[in-house]
Amino acid sequence: MKLDFSGLESSAPLYGGNNELLSDGFSAAPSFDLPVTSDFDDFQKNSIQMVKPAKGTTTLAFIFKDGVMVAADSRASMGGYISSQSVKKIIEINPYMLGTMAGGAADCQFWHRNLGIKCRLHELANKRRISVTGASKLLANILYSYRGMGLSVGTMIAGWDEKGPGLYYVDSEGGRLKGTKFSVGSGSPYAYGVLDSGYKYDMTIDEAAELARRAIYHATFRDGASGGVASVYHVGPTGWTKLSGDDVGELHYSYYPVEPAVVEQEMTEAVAV
């Protein structure tokens, strides 16, 4: 419901000098205070930026004793509209490396496929697989060269190489971070809460998968821009495997089943006289 507020805008810009005019009782405009700023356009632009949601998604990945666990939701949103509930956000770069998608779908899909190509070329040229460190550096350098051009990518590269499990966070600002636990997207604060409280290095694969699934489920519950299906992948020494893809609508009722309501008052049929 878009209202026409043009009647409210004062035609004179709000500089210091005009305050005397308004305070002498002749205020024609209705009564709320405009912010004291000389640069009105920038204020509007900044306030739009402030409320702009961060990449609408939840993805997470963490390293534990048996490898890397990677999980993501599957919702794509355009503002308030849900454009899809079945987006593949975990991208299979090659049989032993996974990338996650957050930000622009086209950007992530294209550059991950491009990374897969470069990794294969490296294998053919050097007769051995590329390390996760190398792959993430390739992607980070590409994204850095496009910095400022409007690419939107917030990805995690997870894989298993000669040094064991590897996990890097790479984004379109050109940042690249090595770590053991990451979550990216608008639902990441909620996922971090669950992940941080349940994480232990010595988990089994099943425990780690359940932790990842729970973290995504809790993020989809609280965050409006995350939802759909919680996919969980595991990267081990022999490559990645998809462990599960559960609809979070059903996960909710399996984690928190609805108790049948206690009937307080029952209405009985009135007998016709």
């Binding site: 209705p30 409320v51 849900i82 909710h252």
Partner: protein, 204 residues
């Protein structure tokens, strides 16, 4: 995101044969974050008149309190309940009083008028009434709701079928909206009884 999309809401009201149904979602959020999943958006004014308010949560609660006050005064003076048509005019007038600093709400009014004839209407945030014979929608999911209601609605449904139809329309529409959902709340009102039901929906 505009101020109407700050809290998120979905409301729909439908007319059946000598009955009506009004349904809402249950989410209260602060932009993308969900704060509550049991927020009340539909209020009873009297046994045959229900008011649903979509839009900014704070304004919906304040407006509801003011309208209840006005209705109670009316009941004291006239010694009877307000007719839905009269109530709609009251809401419209109160909204237009704030023409230059409006309540950020879109009300949906549903009631049984004279001879228990169902009456529904909606209005924009400054009181423009829209009377409809079949269904009215409001909220962030309104575009999806229009589509769902248009395809699922049939005239002269009885209260069981009306409940099924309005529930399906609500659930399928909020499943396409990030800002509303997390369950549903449906009231079906016939001349003899009011049935209130909570819908199990996707909690994402």
């Amino acid at each position: 995101m505009s101020i109407f999309e700050y809290n998120g809401s979905a409301l729909v009201a439908m007319v059946g044969k000598n009955c009506f149904a009004i349904a809402s979602d249950r989410r209260l959020g602060v932009q993308l974050q969900t704060i509550a999943t049991d927020f009340q958006r539909i209020f009873k004014i009297h046994d045959k008149l229900f008011l649903g308010l979509s839009g900014l949560g704070s304004d919906t609660q304040t407006l509801y309190q003011r309208l209840v006050f006005r209705h109670k005064l009316y009941q004291l003076r006239e010694e009877r309940d307000m007719k839905p048509e009269t109530f709609a005019s009251l809401v419209s007038a109160m909204l237009y009083e704030k023409r230059f600093g409006p309540y950020f709400c879109q009300p949906v009014i549903a009631g049984l008028g004279e001879d228990d004839k169902p009456f529904i209407c909606t209005m924009d945030s400054i009181g423009a009434k829209e009377l409809a014979k079949d269904f009215v929608v409001a909220g962030t999911a309104s575009e999806s709701l229009y589509g769902a209601c248009e395809s699922m609605f049939k005239p002269d449904m009885d209260h069981e079928e009306l409940f099924e139809t309005i529930s399906q329309a609500l659930i399928s529409s909020v499943d396409r909206d990030c800002l509303s959902g997390w369950g549903g709340h449906v009231y079906v009102v016939t001349p003899t009884e009011v049935t209130e039901r909570i819908l199990k929906g996707r909690m994402d």
